[in-house]
Chain length 406, copies 2
Amino acid sequence: MVKKVISLEEAKRRLEEGWRPLPRVEEVGIWEALGRVLAEGVRCAVDLPPFDRAMYDGYAVRAGDTFGAEEDAPASLRVVGRVEAGEWPSVRVGKGEAVRIATGAPLPPGSDAVVMAEDTVEEEGEVRVYRPVSPWENVWRRGAERRRGEPLLPPGRVLGVREVGALAAAGVGRVRVYARPRVGVMATGDELEEPGRRLGKGKIFNSNGPMLCAAVASCGCTPVWLGVSRDSPRELRRGIERGISRCEALVISGGTSEGERDLVPSLVSEMGRLLFHGLALKPGKPTLFALVRGKPLFGLPGYPLSALLVFRLLVEPFLRRMAGLPQPSPPSVRARLAEEVGKARGREELIPVRLEGGLARVVRKGSGAITSLLEADGYLRAPRERERLRKGEEVEVILFGGGESV
Amino acid sequence: MVKKVISLEEAKRRLEEGWRPLPRVEEVGIWEALGRVLAEGVRCAVDLPPFDRAMYDGYAVRAGDTFGAEEDAPASLRVVGRVEAGEWPSVRVGKGEAVRIATGAPLPPGSDAVVMAEDTVEEEGEVRVYRPVSPWENVWRRGAERRRGEPLLPPGRVLGVREVGALAAAGVGRVRVYARPRVGVMATGDELEEPGRRLGKGKIFNSNGPMLCAAVASCGCTPVWLGVSRDSPRELRRGIERGISRCEALVISGGTSEGERDLVPSLVSEMGRLLFHGLALKPGKPTLFALVRGKPLFGLPGYPLSALLVFRLLVEPFLRRMAGLPQPSPPSVRARLAEEVGKARGREELIPVRLEGGLARVVRKGSGAITSLLEADGYLRAPRERERLRKGEEVEVILFGGGESV
């Protein structure tokens, strides 16, 4: 049934054409906003700073009163009050007067500069100023950073630690962000058993379920585990129906090849529109994409390494677009091939490699081997037109992400 | 009160000496394990694969029966049954016999190889084999990847998408991981108002609270917001008591300098042991570290940029150790300084910069300016013994993380 295979690029083109992700928007408080993506630009709710603010502990003065002050000839001013951070000044600074002021406190009316405490001596209600200040020296003018209503953050900005701080400072308590898309994950196969249970004869553990749910979460989406479907058209159809009604996209692993029990291609053709089936890619040939009731359905190979590689190359970019996140940019390094690698012409190959002192060594275990997932540091993409890669040839190794960036 | 300042390195040494983080351990299911850190090594619960497994669709045979087979002279074998993935074979392969087998299905007893379907033709209960196979060809031998009980993942491994898949495949349903430490966050200051509320006269919004909670979460810890404490010894003491009883560590911002309302240093000296107060670092001088009832308490400067930089350099490494995570390795780039930068000798300076076409341009807004957080791409560390950095000098810029890696 996998008759007419297409390239990864053609597959991406058909996805683009067949389906435009429309991110949903929701509102969240800034305390819960870390890692979310702004759906709308945000403007300052207040002037930043909100008032003329003292930069240091010292005295609020009229700058003109300090002109000419020096070590030998200090200006002497009468201290008429004090103002702390968080207070609003109740006193006015007149000519020849000063108000003691704390860092961050608002400047009293009449004053236009702050003399730093270290340039003064206070005694019996008088402060001697030993260094002149110019107008607005040591003062953060109201609105100097941003005026109320001015743009603070653009739409599409991912909210990290710094952005959360800036939103808070600007008085923005809630923001409109893209909602995390709900993505259904299903594994198919009579042989699959739940990890942690006792393994029946002839069974293997369901590794794609937990792995693909984790992969979905790593794309800023909420995974919805739909369970294992036996290789029965009725059960599989029911699972897809359930997933389509509860989720915004579906990812199914297994059952996508050309064997008698590979039920997914014919079933989704019946239920919706199959946009492609079969990639000129190794591993990853039995990959399909369909629209069922207008919702995207990705069918991935059953082998874990194959499933994960196709997920990263094809599914992740789309899920990230649904989530409003920027496109993935996995880190990569250049390395020399430790050995010659033969391949079939006419299809791209994804070759898992381990990095050893600047050399890329092929992890040859087959895509069914789960431990190749652990032993490879990344993979290289061998172009479809090549028949072999030479030993010592420089290649780009796309690194598997660390476990943390999730 | 900030009299004897110490270097960042000396501060780290005192932290190390004063307090050894002891991570707590908890058990989680692998479906919830993404991003967690293994507290103990994990062994395979089963052989991987659990049985001799067919790699392809085809026929399970005795390899010896196919020796000498070729295009013109196929070996002819009697088909005595079939076995699908997930089934356990009920039939034995005798001499001259074959069993039809699906990818992933267990080899029937008696057979020792799989002939790929594409090398055969089946007709009237007989299969003609046009290519010989050697013993165990196209078979994944039981335990070939790992034997039951063999190590799968080492302690300290961060569980990413691939690790979750490998754990599942190996039948491991639950793992022992480091618990996320609960870290209390408090902001101090009479001037602080909750973001989203109306701003009172002389007040500013509490930006450090949400920002430091986000920063704590970015270190694999669970932030516990303890609220804003007014500058009152009674309220501050009550907040610290509450935090110490509910959390494993505390981070307090503001009130750590030398003004009259900087109550944190004297209060924590009374309540516990002050290990240092004052860093030879700009910004970041009013930083302190204390142990209160044996629990670590970090006092950070009140200015947001200062607080975040000190958090990244001093607090993050320790929180990550509590969480069992590897030490931070923020990405950095080399760039040339766009301008000369003067600094005071005798203290290290952290200088926020913006990157523009390979040039590092200083963001000069002061550490109180919240927008410097947004406009800087990272910062450089100007060594304490330098008095100026030259225009065009190559510097290392430590990048602020993207918002996603949280």
